[in-house]
Structures are given as structure tokens and as C-alpha cells.
Symmetry: C4
Subunit: 345 residues, 4 copies
């Protein structure tokens, strides 16, 4: 399978739900929720891409880095690079049924495994979504993280136990799902969580627990206080609230506060290896990739996902070679270009 | 009725007078006055949308807000949310006759009533416009505010008395209509008002009086001095003067000055619930919505207007849940993201 | 004649040499010299429009201005408003022959006269261009200013004498024509002028002398020192040098230096009455309008030019009414909106 | 041959590999590597164009410069202007075979010679590429510079000796080719170079040695320390690393550090004579031109390349006349417009 075939196949199957644009930036699909876009004006999706584009890299070519190290251990798992598949569900209404919920979860997790990394599974109004994800975790012998919607306490804990039984590597809640009134309307109420509630949930499992959907330093500190093993700096791909900042804009302030106390993951707008490297320089230990891998799953199944991830690893190595970065676990912020206002002063 | 049908119907009826764009930002219709655009380069219309887009929201998900309160009392009326229909007239030349003047006014006021809020009616060169509006106020048993053009003193006071007779909740003048030379040419002279003239008008009625078209702190203070019960920060949808700032850019400076002395409303570029919340954070007590509701009226009559307003209320609640805002009457400015220049310093 | 007919006629005649865009900003025609565009990347043309767009107006509606005064005396001539037609020639290669050189000059000067203002005529490689302009000056009984290319000293002085004989109100040189190597190739050398050469030229005539093509305060002061009765801040419509700033960006610094010593005119990107008012606020005494009037000449002859100028005067009056400006001779810089960086500090 | 014919011929032959846009800015071809675009999001290509556009020129027309000098001596060669053809190879996969590797090299070097300047030749995975370049150097009797990929030490030195035998005017390495994993996969490993390795290579030849691909002041100083006769500030046309700054943004800081110790060349986004002048003002002694000359080679062979270079020289002279610049060897930074933040303070 080659990249062009993958993309053409995906474009045909997605029938306009996603245009598989030459560069995925949230403009063509603005407002398409359900669909693949950002909510409202689409600005929160676009902000993720723009915040990454705002950061530039100092190209370095005279140095001694020859064989950059990309692997690391995360939540007890060995990963060939600091990249994971983001949790995605709802293929019926978001992707026009271009892929079944089962195949989507399987493609993301199996493809991630083939590429030496790991993926996340999601939760949704339809109970088969979470079940499909758990099946994919079992199918990869536990190479997967289960992310549960911010439901009632009991419902979350029950789903955590299912994830434990499936052998998940970690579990978590995407608390930014709190505004999904549609879930409430379907009899599956979700909502914000208090610090006390989060602590109760976290204490109910021995697995590493991840809070996904943190966009401010204050809440990152609350997540640490609640006992989170990791946080995901994320605006849910711009799909829950219009007009948020981009992830790469808030990440450095969050990482500065909590990086020594919890694992910081970043999720938003990653399109290639240079983006991965920039988020590491801004303080993340690893990143999540969403829409591009959904396209990979639709266009090529597990092999499609693996192909995209392998390309991204090649790009990451190239970016490390051209910025004199030897190890993904120690990325110097100085690889980022600092614009000097008084250029001609 | 669903949103897509409403929009397709409106697009067909409006025959290009409005393209019913996927995101309404003043670009496609720039310069189309008459029509639905902004005057000249269209920059004042665009500035409203851009000024709102410039402000970002801090997404918060760890907190105790569960059931945000959206209702409030304004000019003695209970509103289910701080949103009102803006006064719009001239359907013949602005909308290509896609809707009659009567149906436009009725749709806006009846639809607002159905959605638990209230609308405004406008005035124009053709006397049937104001009459249609008054009829709509009577039809909703007084759930409407009459906004009169800045005519001669006697003409204004006569129209105020008609509004009182129709049972209007409040009256006002859109003083930014002062530059409409076309009205003068049709024998209906309009012009700027002095502080003395405004005071005389306001003293002629016991209804709450609103001055619409304030864009500077100095004039906001003059409006308070004249006795206005409320002001509308507005550039008339960018239709009277090219190259004004956007409403969301001048609002905080105006609100800071007069918010404790008069009701501050904001009108310009509101497209969804996140926009409403941002204007409240910037100092408005409620907002006006124009073009989107005109599209609703053309595409679905009163039900169309109500559908759009109900969607906006859902979005407002979601935005409040995701910013930890409990009450529309007390919106913390800290929900706005403050860009930090020295992000990588 | 109405505006739409004028524009459709012009669009048909110009056959793509000018697209007669809904908003004329230099994007569609970038690089088209010959043609109607800006040279190279087209950035200098665009910069004129963008620099004007950057400046915003404070809308004011509570005040006592009722009947703004737009007329003034310039170089001994009464003008109904501070707007003049810019010198334009070369209709064969710039406009695809949509209009003859004679008709272009006549339309600009006669149309200006009909609208109560005055126009300029230009010079070019083909001697019939300047002759057509002089004929138009004679046809309007001296309501015209002759702008000569920066040729050799004798050639300029000879042309000044022809302009005097034709009864021109003033004469000048567009020194920014210095880079036109094509003219040199056609045996008509042009080039930069020294201060000494300018002084010699100016002393050769008793008419007011205008130096057109000033973009820096230093050269404005040199123009004053040479004895110029007026300067035109102009980058030649972006047609001679790529990558200049916009006229509205350099104007305030230039006006500040020389406004008390010479008449300051501004030429670049004026599209409507609000633009006129902004340039006055930035320090100009009057402005020049180019491309829009060329479209008027092609689309409607003298009547077309007059129609556009009359519209612009209406817009100017509206803009004055909505900014509380009583007199074009005394425009307060405070009508310009001053963006406050710390809006949410 | 005229410019329009050249461009239409090139557009037809390139079959979409390059669209031959009216303004070449990296947007249409973003991500097309192989192809003519920038890698990934295409931002590094675009950054070159945008960084140049960011710098503006002060237009000056009152002065005594009459016959600007454009020639200079570089690496012992007389050049009629400070412009050289950049090294380009890979016509099969980058240009869809629109031109053979041999014809590409010959066109660039012969066309440069015809225009009184000089060109560079490149290296690639296929050994015929470098051989074609050397043949072109022989064909121009040594008017060419050989740029070699950052291979192993022995491979580089062998290629230097071939270049010496061909009579090359200078040699160099484009060290920004270090990330080309594809070359490694084809058994031709490339990689970053240490200071020690660069010194060893430089000491192996008596020809002037150029290090191409410097984007930071620190590495520029290392190049000087290694003994480089010249550096090229370049991000490889945005083709090796996404998200670098533009060349014109880093150039002044680099030139300030090393300009007195080595020849500083700049390569990125040059489209016309004004761009050349701006890079000289920012500290370069000469500039490289890439894609425009590739289009010239495809559309018109050596004559096409020469036509474009001659046009650029005309534009350079015009730009010098309009900025009062007498000599390309001494360009005053003050010809650059310095934006004043407090324009209306």
C-alpha cells in the first residue's frame, strides 16, 4: 500500500464527511459536528494547527548526532516513538459509515501495534462503541488505553473494571466531553467532574489513570492533586467548545507547572514528525494523533494506520537529525526559533 | 424543521442577496448595501466577526457547575437567555423580497417569544416598515422593543407614542442611522442627535429608552447623562460606516465606564453560544443577533427563528459548562484566555 | 447611468486587463505591468489598500454637526471636495485599448469638472499622451494639473511651458518615474532628480509646482527646500517598485514634518469616502484617486467619472456625519481609533 | 523568446508538477516532495517568501545616483550581478521528466553564463546527476560551483577531485541534505557533519569551499572556524525540514556575526530584483535563485534562464535607482523601511 492509494481510497469512502485535504487544517470542514470538523466556527480545530505552525525550528546541521533515539517507556509500555493513536468513535455519524466502529478501533490499535506504538479507545452514547474498543484492546493483548466519557461515578467505575479485565495498559476520562448535551438527551448523562469525584475514580483502579481535556495550568495542578498518572492537554480536536486556544499555545505553561509530577501528553493538530518534535520541545512527553489516523484506518485498515505512523517516525528522525536532537526523552527547548522583534533595530 | 432544510430554503428564496454561507463573516457579500453586506469594503461587518474570534475561552472541566442558569430580567421582562433579535427592515431591497416586511417582523418577534426571549423592530423610509413592526409587537402582547430612526424630534416622539400604544416593552433610537442620506432624499431627514435632543426624547416617555449605535466610551457616558435605560454597542452591522472597529473590541472599554449606570447590550457578529458568552465576559448584559435570525425568518418563519435561538441556548449552556460559568448574570472575565507574549521567553 | 451598468460596461471593454473586482485591492492583477496591477509581487499596490484598512474610525453619533463642509481652495482653485483624479496614461498597453488616450484624459478632467473638482494629466513615452492631456486641460479651461515624467531638464521645462500655454492650474513631476528603463530604451531617458535640478525646474515657472512620488520624510523636506508648492505622497500605485510601504503608513510621518510648509496630497488605495477622511486625518489636505476613476472613464466617460466622484462625496459626508467632523480643512486625528494593546489587562 | 511563451511552455511540460503560478509562493504545491513544493505543511518554503515580503523598501527619488553598479567579484569570478543559479537536480521525480538531468544542468549553467553570472550544480542518489553537472561545468569552461551531498568523507573528497578536474570555480556541501533518509536507503548514506569532518574536507581542496544550509549564527561561526570561504544561508527551499524560519528572517543575525570573515550568500524565495536588493541590505553579498530558473530551463533552455536573469538585472537596477543605491557591494541597511509601532501615538 502506498500513501496516495490510501488517501484516494479514504476520500472515496468518506464521501465528503472528510475531504482528505492536502493539508488537514480544519477549514474545509469547519462547523461539521457531527462530521470531522471543529464545532461552530471551527476555530478551536484551526487553533491547534495554527499554534503548532506558529512555533518554528532552528535547523542545525553541524553536529555529532548520528542515530537519534525515538523510543521510550510510557505507563510501563515500550513505545518505538512518543506517538499514540487518539481515541475516536462515532464512525456512523462522523464518517458517514465509511468504516464500522469495530474496524475503526481494531485498525487504530492493531496499526499502532504494528508500528511499535499504542492507541487509545473511546466511549460513546451507543454502548457498542466502548465494547468495540475493549475487543480491540483484547486483540492486541493489552496494547491500548481506555478513555471513558465523564458519566456518573458508578458508570465510569464499571467501565474501568471492564478495561482492567480486557488488559488495558491504562484508563482515563476525557472530561472535556462534559458539554455533550446530546449524550444526556440519550439517557447517558455526562458532565464536569469535581476534584473529589476524580479522586474517587482514580482510587478505584490500580491502573495508571489519565485525565484528558486539560487546557489550563490550574486544572493541570488539580489533576495532579487528584492522583492522575498522566494528563492530555487537549481541546478534544476543537469539537466541544468553539474559540479555545490551540494546544501548542497552552502546553508550555501547563508543562512547566506539572511536568515533574505527572506524564504530560499533547493532542491537537499533529500532522508530521516536525510537529511531534515541537510538542516535545514545548514540554510534552508524547503526543496523540487523531484525524490523520482515522483517514489511515478508513483508507487502509491496520496497515494504513501503521504506514502513516511509520512515515511519521521517519519524519521525526529527520527532524531530530536536522535539529541536533539525540533523544526524544530530552528535547531542548532551544531547538525552537525565538523570533526577535528588533530584527532591524 | 431541521437546520439544513431551513438553510437550504433560505438560500433558495434569497437568490444570492444572502448566500447563507457555512460561516457568516461578511466576505462574500462585502459592499452589498442594499443587500445583506457591510458598506464599502465590508470591513466593519468583518471587524465584528474578527473581534469576536480574537477573544478565546479558557476551557475548564474540573469544577462543580452542573446546571448553568441562563435566564435573566431585562427592562422588566423575563428572558430565558441574554439574547434578543436585532431590529431588521427593508426586506424588499436587502433580501430581494424573499419575505414580506410583515412576515419578517412577525417571524422575528414570534420566534423570539417561542424561544423565551424578545425581539426588536425597526423603522425605515417606507412607513409600512414601522407599522409592520408595531403590529408584531401587538401580536406578541408587547414582547418587543421599538427602535426608531434618528428623525426630527416630533417624528420620533410620535412614533414613541405609537409604540407605547402597541404595548412595547421599551423604545429606542438607532442613532447610527444618522448618515442615511437616502432617507433625507426621500423626504424623511435623519441626522445626529445632540445630548439635549436625546434628553428631550427620553423625557417624553415612561418606557425604558435605549440608545443603539454607541462605539466610544465618551458617547456611552453621554447616553447615561441623557437618561438612557440601556445602550447597544453596535456599528449597525457594519452597514453605515466603513472601517469601524469591531463591537467586541470596543465593548470592554465602554462597559467599564457605564455598566454600573445603564444596561449594556452588544450587537455584532454573534454566531453561536460561545460568542454570546464572550460578549458577556467582555461586559455586556445581553446580546443582539441579526443576520442569522433573518436567515431563520426567511427559511422557516417564526419556527425557524425559534430553532436557531434554541440551538444557541444549547450552545450557551455547553459553553458555560466548559468554562465553569454558573450564571449569565455574573460572568467572570477570567474565562477569557489572556495571550502571553513571552510564551517561550 | 447607474453604477452597475458602468461597471459591467467597463468590465466588458477592459477584457481582463482590469477585472473590475467587487473590491479593488491589487490581488487579481498582481504583477500585471503593463496592465492595471502592481509591479512584481504586487505588494506595493496591496500595501496601499492594506495601510488604509489598518486605520479605523471612531463612530460618533451624539454631537451637533449637521451640514459638514467639504469644499476647499487648493492651488488657487475651488474644489467641492478634497479629491482629485490622478494622472493616468497608457490606455493602449495598460487597458488593452478599451479607451483612447484622448478620451481617457477628457473623461478624467471633464468628469472631475462636472463633479466640482479637478484632475491631473500625465506624460509618457508616446508624445501624443501628454498632448492629449494638454488638450483636456484646454477643454476644461484650465481645470487640470500637468504631471511630467522626470526627463532631462530641458524636456521638462519645455513641457511646463506647454502646460502654461494650455492654462494648467499647476504643474509637477512624478519623480517616481525614475526607474522606467523602458522609457530610456525608447530614447526618452528618465531618471532621479537632484535637489539642484528640482530647484532649477521650479524656478522656471510661476505656476504652483508639485513633486509627486515622495515616500520618506527626508525627501519631503528636500521637496520643500526645492520650493515645491505641494507634494504627493505616492508609490505610483505600486507600479514602479515592489515592496514599498503603503501610502497611509508613511503619510503621518511625512505630514508631521512638512505640512506647515507645503500642500500635502496623498495618492494610493482610496476606494470610498471613508478612505478620503482617513487620509485627511493622517495629515493630507487632499487625495488623488486613480484606478476607480479609470474604470469610470472606460465604463461611462466623463459622466462615469462624475458619478463615481459624486458617490464618493456622498460617502465623505456620511463619514463626516458619523465621526463628528465639521470641515475637511480641519480633521481631528482623534477620529482614528487607537487600538489598545492591553484590552484585557 | 518572450516571458509568456516561456511560462506557458513550462506549464505544459511540467504537467502539474509545478503549476507555474502567477506568483510562486509555495501554496499550490505545499507538501509535494518529490515535486517542486516544500516538505510537510510547506511552511518552510512559504516562510522564505513571507520573510522577504515582510521587509519593505524606502522609495527614494531625489538623489544623484544615475548609473548603479551591479557587478562584483566572487570566488575570483566576475559576475554582472550578485545572483547565481541554485543547484537543482532530480528532474525525473521532481519535475515529472519535463527536462532531462543533463539539459537541466546545461540550461542553468549556460543560461547563467549568457547572463553574465554563474550557476551551481547538485548531487543526488543517482550518480548521473552529479556527472551531468560536471559536464555542464566543463561546457562553460569552469563557470560553475559543485555542491555535494553530505556523504561519507571519502565520497565527498572523491567528488571534490572530480570537480577540480572539471575546472569548477568552487566546491561545497549542502549539509542540510543530512536528513535525506531516502539516500541512505539507496545505499548512499548521508548525515550531519561535525566541525572536525568539515575541516578535513575543506583542507582537502585548494578551491574556495562553500557550506550550504546554515540557518543559525552559531553554525555560521562554526563554518568560519572550519575554514569555509563562503556560506549559503538556506533551508534547502523548504524541502528538508518543515517549520523553519524564512531565510530573510535569520539572515541579518547571521551576517552580523560572520560577514567580515566569510562570503555570505542567501538562498530562498527570491522572485525579482527588489528581493535581491533586500537580501543585500540584510547582509548577503549575493543570492541564489532556484525554482524560477528551473521553470526557465524547462520553458526555454539556456535562453530561458538567461531571459529571466536579464529581467532580474533590469529590476535590480530599477530598484537601486528608486532606493538611491549606487553599488551592490555597499548596500545601506537604511533602504529598508522600519515600521514604527507608535504610528498614531
Amino acid at each position: 500500500m502506498d500513501l496516495n492509494t490510501l488517501r484516494e481510497t479514504a476520500r472515496a469512502k468518506l464521501k465528503g464527511y472528510c475531504r482528505v485535504c492536502s493539508f488537514c487544517n480544519g477549514i474545509a470542514c469547519r462547523g461539521e459536528v457531527p462530521g470531522m470538523g471543529g464545532v461552530g466556527s471551527g476555530s478551536s480545530f484551526k487553533a491547534n494547527v495554527e499554534a503548532l505552525a506558529h512555533h518554528l525550528l532552528n535547523m542545525r546541521t553541524i553536529h555529532e548526532v548520528r542515530d537519534p533515539r525515538t523510543n521510550l517507556t510510557l505507563f510501563g509500555c515500550e513505545l518505538d516513538m512518543p506517538v499514540m493513536a487518539a481515541p475516536m468513535t462515532g464512525s456512523t455519524y462522523n464518517m458517514g459509515g465509511a468504516i464500522s466502529e469495530e474496524d475503526l478501533a481494531t485498525s487504530l490499535l492493531m496499526g499502532s501495534l504494528q508500528a511499535g506504538v499504542m492507541g487509545m479507545i473511546g466511549d460513546g452514547a451507543d454502548p457498542t462503541m466502548y465494547a468495540s474498543g475493549l475487543a480491540a484492546i483484547r486483540g492486541t493483548k493489552g496494547r491500548g488505553i481506555a478513555i471513558i466519557k465523564p458519566r456518573g461515578q458508578k458508570e465510569i467505575i464499571a467501565r474501568i473494571q471492564e478495561a482492567e479485565a480486557a488488559g488495558a495498559a491504562a484508563v482515563g476520562v476525557d472530561i472535556d466531553g462534559a458539554g455533550l448535551i446530546t449524550m444526556s438527551l440519550k439517557g447517558q448523562p455526562v458532565g464536569p467532574k469535581s476534584l473529589r469525584e476524580l479522586r474517587e475514580i482514580i482510587q478505584a483502579t490500580s491502573l495508571p489513570f489519565i485525565i484528558k481535556g486539560i487546557m489550563t495550568p490550574v486544572e493541570a495542578e488539580m489533576a495532579v492533586e487528584a492522583g492522575a498518572a498522566g494528563i492530555v492537554v487537549s481541546n478534544h480536536g476543537g469539537r466541544v467548545l468553539d474559540s479555545t486556544p490551540g494546544v501548542a499555545e497552552v502546553l508550555p505553561w501547563i508543562a512547566e507547572k506539572v511536568r515533574n509530577h505527572t506524564v504530560v501528553l499533547a493532542d491537537g493538530g499533529v500532522r508530521n514528525g516536525a510537529d511531534v518534535l515541537k510538542l516535545l520541545a514545548l514540554g510534552a512527553q508524547a503526543v496523540l494523533v487523531g484525524r490523520p489516523l482515522a483517514i489511515g484506518a478508513v483508507g487502509g485498515g491496520p496497515e494504513g494506520v501503521a504506514l502513516l505512523l511509520n512515515n511519521m517516525r521517519t519524519e521525526l528522525i529527520q527532524s531530530m537529525l536536522l535539529t541536533a536532537t539525540a533523544d526524544v526523552r530530552h528535547v531542548d527547548r532551544k531547538i525552537l526559533f525565538l523570533r526577535q522583534a528588533s530584527a532591524l533595530g
